[in-house]
């Protein structure tokens, strides 16, 4: 590490010239990479990697030339004396037989802006959030809470087959969405409906999907929560875990190819990081130099599997480096920290054409889904602690209130309005007619092939012959 610090200083002096910046601060270097912060509007962090600086893959599309040859040749005496030229670059020799430890002695710290009481921690490095934005963020976080509560109850009443709440993860949902551009393409897992809410998906639209009625954009073909909106750049959710990560690399590739000022943003949980697709997705995005922001919601539990049974690394943040990806660990229950981290990550991804990994530390306060009772495998006081003391919505509310931007009156008005609107939306969605039979066969292909036409015809005849066997109001 000491060696690297020495190098970092050299880099700083060479970069100072390149970057024409006035103030440069050296931060702690976890990643073997010199980390510099400029005094721009955004704390858009500028990095340079000793390994890949001169190895840009697609030269034709490189957004920004990296400072050349910042590599190993500098001033290190003994160890750099002898180097071996491997296909991947020069590697120095050492006579010391030293294994890299399985983890560093100190866990990667978690970036936060607000303390538990919703006060900004002094000397913090974050992107300022103005009143209008802050209020909107809070409103959406609260609306998400109300929506989760009401849909969950609707499922308990047997009105929909399934539901899954985002309780405890409202800050990640809303703050990340707020930090993105509407052109950024989101590949969600399933605990991120807040992103869609932020982008303008109405409560009626949510209800229509959960009830699978005629107004559902998915035409009643996917289970509740598996929203999708082409209009809002939100990919339709697939149930299998982590499949969206390699797809995100592909979206990033596509955006890169079209030179768009946007990135792909994909979400995953801690459990999903055990999937091969997680690792391949990260690796692909790194190799393709694709603008992808990977956001991992480390909420401690994958249904009943605790993270201690999921991996042995220091969480997810450390995995980024192995793939050559910049990473940050952030307090997922701190909306301002999430906002700042995602905003900066997005900026880096787009301007530097590279992936970034964010591990947002949080807790799944609700059950995994309505098919789960999490009190069977975790302590009630653990849930209670996260629900009360670490509640991301309350924490953010305190900050907004302390600024004088929100009142008790606003609060009750918002919640009662949201509640009313949701109840109406559910009633309307329930009454709306279901998809007609033709929608069973549409969209399997762009044009219905003959075999499906025949199957449709056969089914229609059957339904017409024995209507009593099929639900009333079934539209042929």
């Amino acid at each position: 590490m000491a060696i690297w610090f020495a190098r970092s200083r050299n880099l700083v002096s060479s970069l100072r010239h390149n970057l024409c910046t006035s103030t440069i601060l050296i931060k702690r270097d976890y990643s073997h990479r010199p980390v510099l912060t400029t005094s721009h509007q955004l704390p858009s962090t500028v990095f340079s990697s000793p390994f890949v600086a001169s190895l840009l893959r697609h030269e034709s599309t490189a957004v920004e030339k990296q400072p050349d040859e910042l590599v190993l040749h500098s001033d290190d005496q003994e160890e750099a004396l002898q180097e071996l030229d491997f296909p991947g670059g020069k590697v120095g020799y050492t006579s010391e037989m030293k294994f890299i430890p399985e983890s560093s002695s100190r866990r990667v710290p978690c970036y936060r802006v607000l303390d538990e009481d919703g006060r900004i921690i002094p000397d913090n490095d974050f992107v300022p959030v103005k009143e209008k934005l802050a209020v909107r963020m809070y409103e959406q976080m609260a609306t998400l809470q109300v929506m989760d509560h009401i849909f969950y109850e609707a499922q308990r009443q047997g009105r929909i087959s399934f539901y899954l709440t985002s309780v405890g993860e409202e800050a990640i949902n809303i703050a990340s969405a707020a930090a993105l551009s509407p052109d950024d393409i989101v590949l969600p897992q399933y605990r991120e409906p807040g992103v869609l809410l932020w982008r303008g998906f109405t409560l009626e639209e949510f209800a229509n999907q959960c009830f699978g009625n005629k107004a559902d954009y998915g035409k009643g073909r996917q289970m509740p929560i598996h929203y999708g909106s082409n209009r809002l750049n939100y990919f339709t959710i697939s149930s299998p875990i982590a499949t969206q990560l390699p797809q995100a690399a592909g979206v990033g590739y596509s955006l890169k190819m079209e030179k768009k000022n946007a990135c792909a943003v994909t979400f995953i949980g801690d459990g999903g990081t055990s999937e091969g697709d997680f690792h391949a997705g990260l690796n692909f995005a790194a190799v393709m130099e694709a603008p992808v922001v990977f956001i991992c919601r480390n909420n401690g539990w994958a249904i009943s599997t605790h993270i201690s049974e999921q991996f042995r690394s220091d969480g997810i943040v450390v995995k980024g480096q192995a793939y050559g990806i910049r990473s940050i660990r952030v307090d997922g229950n701190d909306a301002l920290a999430v906002y700042s981290a995602v905003r900066s990550a997005r900026e880096m991804a787009v301007t530097e054409q590279r992936p970034v990994l964010i591990e947002a530390m949080t807790y799944r306060v609700g059950h995994h889904s309505t098919s789960d009772d999490s009190t069977k495998y975790r302590a009630a006081d653990e849930i209670q602690y996260w629900k009360m003391s670490r509640n991301p919505v309350n924490r953010f509310r305190k900050w907004v209130e302390d600024n004088g931007w929100w009142s008790e009156e606003d609060e009750s008005k918002l919640r009662s309005n949201a509640r009313k609107q949701l109840l109406q939306a559910i009633q309307a969605a329930e009454k709306w007619e279901k998809q007609p039979l033709t929608e069973l066969f549409n969209d399997v292909y762009d044009v219905k092939p003959k075999n499906l036409e025949e199957q449709e015809l056969g089914l229609k005849e059957l339904v017409e012959k024995q209507p009593q066997e099929y639900p009333p109001g079934f539209h042929v």
Binding site: Y217, Q244, G250, G276, A280, N451
Partner: protein, 407 residues
């Protein structure tokens, strides 16, 4: 895995790039590798001599005429055709791909070693030089991930052609192909389309052992939302490649390792093939033989013998493995009343099994005899030459089956 694939690719690359010469189309005796390297395609090479029996009904339409050339596939083939250019099947695929990339800037290629290396069977040769290494993208080795990448790219407007270096390894991408590629158009309510082409070499015959010699059409056939075609001649290889790229649906294009060096004169002017259409290879009266991919050439070899014995078989290359062209197939069944299916696919749950079911369901009344299906044995493809040969259907079996069916 990569080293295995790579080794196989290199070995075949060395031996494959000789144009097919009719004189080398010797009978399939396979005792050692040197004999192997002498022979590649079992085409209906006698066609030029037996023009009458093979060419009689081939003037049905434009495409049929060209198919006659494909079946001939020799240097002596139809020199009377005034236009066109001669190329090998892998070159035809490349030409189709290149034309589509010229035509539409959204068409891109991704896979292992498809870039400057040109693909293990050289289908993407020269494309990276022409279109750049971003549009012809070398990916790390992970079939599920580069297929997923293709799907993501397709959902945001590109038309990726995904090369599986070997079809067998596409099993590693099964999740993306099935759960995502096949379903997202449907589950999104038609909001997102996935216009990808997944293609690559498969099939038995290069002594590459079990995993490299697979016929995965049976695995993929029940995935809703996927279309499947198998090419068998340079003409249809190019036409199907172009059609697959233009299709809004995900299409799996099956290529056969033994057919890459098949030579044929194809038209200079642009054409595409219908993805859902079977190809009439040889019209006949006595029996309908349905086949596809490499088995087409075993069938044509058998047909030669059968004609000598006085039979007049109708040979149809079904080409579209999903959905079946039941119009063409039905018309033939109604004419001949007898059906023999010859495939390289597995006996259990294979394409032949599905086709048998479809014919029985739709044309039972027209059949004078039960449908017979000749398929590969239900074993992993063995490496040793003789064992490998016994795994797949041989022309003699086809002859016997036709004789029995026509009794």
């Amino acid at each position: 895995m990569s080293s295995i694939i790579h080794g196989a690719g290199a070995a075949t690359a060395l031996s494959t790039f000789n144009p097919v010469d009719s004189k080398k189309l010797v009978s399939p005796s396979r005792t050692n590798l040197s004999v192997r390297s002498q022979r590649y395609i079992v085409a209906g090479s006698d066609a030029s001599k037996k023009k009458k029996s093979f060419g009689s009904g081939l003037r049905v339409g434009h495409s049929q005429k060209l198919i006659a050339n494909a079946a001939v596939a020799t240097k002596e083939a139809d020199t009377s055709a005034s236009t066109g250019h001669e190329l090998l099947l892998f070159e035809a695929l490349q030409e189709g791909l290149e034309e589509e990339m010229d035509r539409d800037a959204n068409v891109c290629v991704m896979g292992e070693d498809v870039g400057h290396y040109g693909g293990s069977y050289k289908v993407t040769k020269g494309l990276a030089d022409k279109f750049g290494d971003l549009r012809v993208l070398d990916t790390p080795i992970c079939e599920n991930a580069f297929t997923g990448m293709g799907i993501g790219a397709a959902m945001t407007g590109l038309r990726p052609v995904i090369e599986g270096m070997n079809m067998g390894f596409l099993l590693l991408a099964f999740n993306q192909i099935s759960n995502n590629c096949g379903m997202l158009h449907y589950t999104s309510g038609g909001q997102f389309t996935i216009p990808v082409v997944i293609r690559g070499p498969g099939g038995v015959g290069r002594q590459l052992g079990a995993e490299h010699s697979q016929r995965l059409e049976s695995y993929f056939q029940s995935i809703p939302g996927i279309q499947m075609v198998a090419c068998s001649t340079p003409y249809n290889a190019k036409g199907l490649m172009k059609a697959a790229i233009r299709s809004e649906n995900p299409v799996i294009l099956f290529e056969h390792v033994l057919l890459y060096n098949l030579k044929e004169k194809i038209p200079d002017e642009e054409y595409i093939c219908n993805l859902e259409e079977a190809e009439m290879v040889r019209p006949g009266e006595h029996i309908t033989i349905l086949t596809y991919s490499r088995m087409r050439y075993h069938v044509m070899q058998a047909a030669k013998t059968l004609v000598n014995k006085g039979y007049d078989p109708e040979v149809i290359d079904i080409r579209s493995l999903k959905p079946f062209d039941l119009h063409t197939i039905g018309n033939s069944v109604k004419k001949t009343h007898r059906v023999l299916i010859v495939e390289e696919c597995m006996r259990t749950g294979g394409i032949g099994a599905s086709l048998t079911a479809a014919i029985n369901e739709n044309f039972h009344d027209y059949l004078d005899a039960p449908v017979v299906c000749l398929s590969s044995q239900d074993v992993p493809t063995p490496y040793a030459g003789t064992l490998e040969e016994w795994t797949v259907v041989q022309p003699a079996q086809i002859v016997t089956a036709v004789e029995q069916l026509c009794q």
